[in-house]
């Protein structure tokens, strides 16, 4: 991944990571959302806590709901959050 990703967090995912937004440049081996989650989980304890229950974390890429197989491109905005509970 040549350029950094913008990564944003919401609800308890945000609370566990400790920031609402960060700009990170993962290594070239990170191609998909699944790769990014694995990489983030190994970054530090806070990220590890946020992604401990990977099954319950949802994501969006560039403001569209995405799944773990979605391929990432430099400059993408990737959001992680729990299942939504509005309405």
């Amino acid at each position: 991944m040549a350029a950094p990703l913008s990564i944003v967090y919401f609800a308890w995912v945000r609370e566990r990571v400790g920031v609402s937004e960060e700009s990170l440049s993962p290594p070239d081996s990170v191609a998909t959302v699944a790769d990014l989650v694995t990489w983030l989980s190994n970054l530090d304890q806070r990220h590890a806590a946020a992604f401990k229950d990977r099954e319950t974390v949802r994501c969006a890429v560039n403001h569209e709901f995405a799944d773990t197989s979605t391929v990432l491109r430099p400059g993408d905005e990737v959001a992680f959050f729990p299942p939504v509970t509005g309405g």
């Binding site: 308890w12 969006a60 403001h63 509970t85 509005g86």
Partner: protein, 154 residues
């Protein structure tokens, strides 16, 4: 006409109905749903009664996500217009959270589209509810299987 708003302030139901109908004479039915903060007293301890609800959202995505939902409703039913207003921020029991309005020539379209919109808003728009208890503690509301089932009906 489609009106979408994400806002901290309360909404005025009568004003929104007036904005949607706006002197038109081709409307036969108006459907409406209002979601309200409920002081959940089902917890065993009164300390866990809900003191407030805080709605967090994903500002750069929220309106776009609601637009996709209203477009889907307009594709499925013959609507003259619809309105979705969703509040964010901290709200007290009894306060309005969300307004869905639909206008159609025939009642079934208005009723079905209203139910569809609120079901999809619950599972396809980036909002998260945090409950604040009387004792000051709080929890993020967990998504309900029944909401997924309600969404899947459509």
């Amino acid at each position: 006409m489609t009106t979408i708003s994400v806002q901290t302030e309360d909404f005025d139901v009568a004003a929104e109905i007036g904005r949607l109908t706006n002197g038109r004479t081709d409307i036969g039915g108006l459907g409406c749903f209002i979601g309200v903060v409920r002081e959940d007293t089902s917890h065993e301890s009164p300390e866990r009664a809900i003191r407030a609800l805080t709605l967090e959202h994903y500002p750069s995505m929220t309106v776009r996500a609601i637009e996709r939902i209203t477009a889907e409703a307009e594709r499925r039913w013959d609507l003259i217009g619809c309105t979705v207003i969703h509040r964010v921020g901290r709200m007290l029991p009894g306060e309005n959270i969300v307004l869905v309005l639909t206008a159609a020539a025939h009642r079934q379209a208005a009723l079905d589209a209203t139910a569809f919109l609120i079901d999809w808003l619950k599972t396809k728009a980036p909002f998260w509810k945090r409950e604040e208890f009387q004792n000051g503690e709080g929890v993020w509301v967990e998504a309900k299987d029944t909401d997924d089932a309600a969404t899947a009906r459509w």
